[in-house]
Symmetry: C2
Subunit: 244 residues, 2 copies
């Protein structure tokens, strides 16, 4: 892991760009000498289509660091942000546009986009956890917050993840929905009730399927990007219950 730049932000948070192999990422750590040492780590697993510098992701990460004392890390998923698109993905995306316009089923095409993304992203997240936990200022434990598809697989294979917040507003391939019962860590599942790109019943079924003994659903009125800001604080308090 190599830090390539750093900035002290006006909320006191230290923001550092890093690279780990060819994966670029950002680490936010609390400004003041942490009252919460050792500092737990939250992996900010944004949606596949978004950049690690997406403004809502950054605002949430800074809040978690500044007000709750967490270290927060984001990395660009394969083919997103600063990373080159995988070979063949342009073709799949063109197929997706065409199928949408024609009103044809798109689940198989989405599978062809998201399954490889998850397969590549999960080992990158695990390597990122290895590197971050070797830093003296980060002690763990580790929580994951973000995209459901990557989160399911990561929670199944990575025992250092002790709690997870999943955002229900993204496509989850059938193969990963089938693994939801293997997710057993405490879970906060966040659903936008009128998400235009998400099947509400499928999200409720997924919540029902997760194997976690402690799981909570938060649903709010509104569309995909309308999650109220108070859910950021609810999410941090969820992590406070499980990472402290």
């Amino acid at each position: 892991m190599r830090f390539t730049s750093e900035r002290r932000l006006d909320d006191g948070v230290l923001e550092r760009d890093f690279t780990l192999g060819d994966v670029p990422g950002i680490l936010w750590t609390p400004g003041a000498a942490a009252p919460h040492a050792p500092t737990p780590l939250i992996l900010a697993g944004h949606n596949g289509g978004l950049h690690k510098r997406e403004s809502r992701l950054v605002a949430r990460a800074r809040r978690s660091a500044a007000a709750y004392g967490y270290a927060v890390a984001a990395i660009d998923a394969p083919g997103h942000g600063d990373r080159p698109r995988p070979a063949g993905e342009e073709q799949v995306r063109a197929d997706l546009r065409r199928a949408k316009e024609a009103g044809e089923p798109i689940e198989e095409i989405l599978d062809a986009l998201v399954v490889p993304l998850v397969e590549r992203a999960v080992p990158e997240w695990r390597a990122t956890v290895d590197a971050l936990l070797s830093l003296p200022e980060i002690g763990g434990p580790v929580g994951y917050s973000g995209m459901t598809a990557i989160g399911i697989r990561l929670a199944v294979v990575e025992p250092r993840i002790v709690a997870a917040g999943f955002f229900a507003g993204g496509f989850v391939p059938r193969a990963l929905r089938g693994q939801a019962r293997q997710v057993t860590v405490p879970l906060l599942f966040l659903l936008q009730w009128d998400d235009e790109g998400n099947d509400r019943q499928q999200a409720l079924d997924l919540f029902d399927t997760f194997g976690s003994k402690e799981k909570t659903l938060h649903a709010n009125l509104g569309g995909h990007t309308g999650t109220p800001w108070f859910e950021v604080d609810d999410g941090n308090r969820f992590f406070d219950r499980h990472l402290r």
Copy 2:
């Protein structure tokens, strides 16, 4: 309104028994000189079958007063707690037991219990609000927290209710479900995912129906009485957003 006894509890909260006509109630107010003056009021509308001194209700009320600075009031619903059963109710309850044992539909019988309860309870709550807001130590605004059936009707007819938390674990007569669209105050709807006495789909449909522009569903794994304690704090923070 007549106060009949008072106690200073070990969390500093002042707990006072009162009667208003033939309605017995309890008022909890914050111990310390309130940092939140004027003190808002939360109506603790427990489930129809429970006493105002039911231990979980009391624990929640004391937490709202001690940690969040609210005045909280509970009254016994008609026919519950210290109040005599209405004439004929024993017969309806016997009908209910018989229908349950026989596996017959019970919705009409539950309607015969709950509709009159709501019709009597709502004016009593409104008179209680009148009396409590006339006390110098209570300033409003007013929130309601508790049983959904009474809550829907109260939120529809009582403009002083500015936010409501409903517990989905009780029977809601069809006539009241039909009024849910008229509920427009910010809403926190609390559902136990595996509530043995409650139809999950009907609860989700009810959440969908409420007319509130700002509404949030919190669902937790477990049965009717298994609501996790952290929901008490979530509920108080919901009121903080709307009563302060």
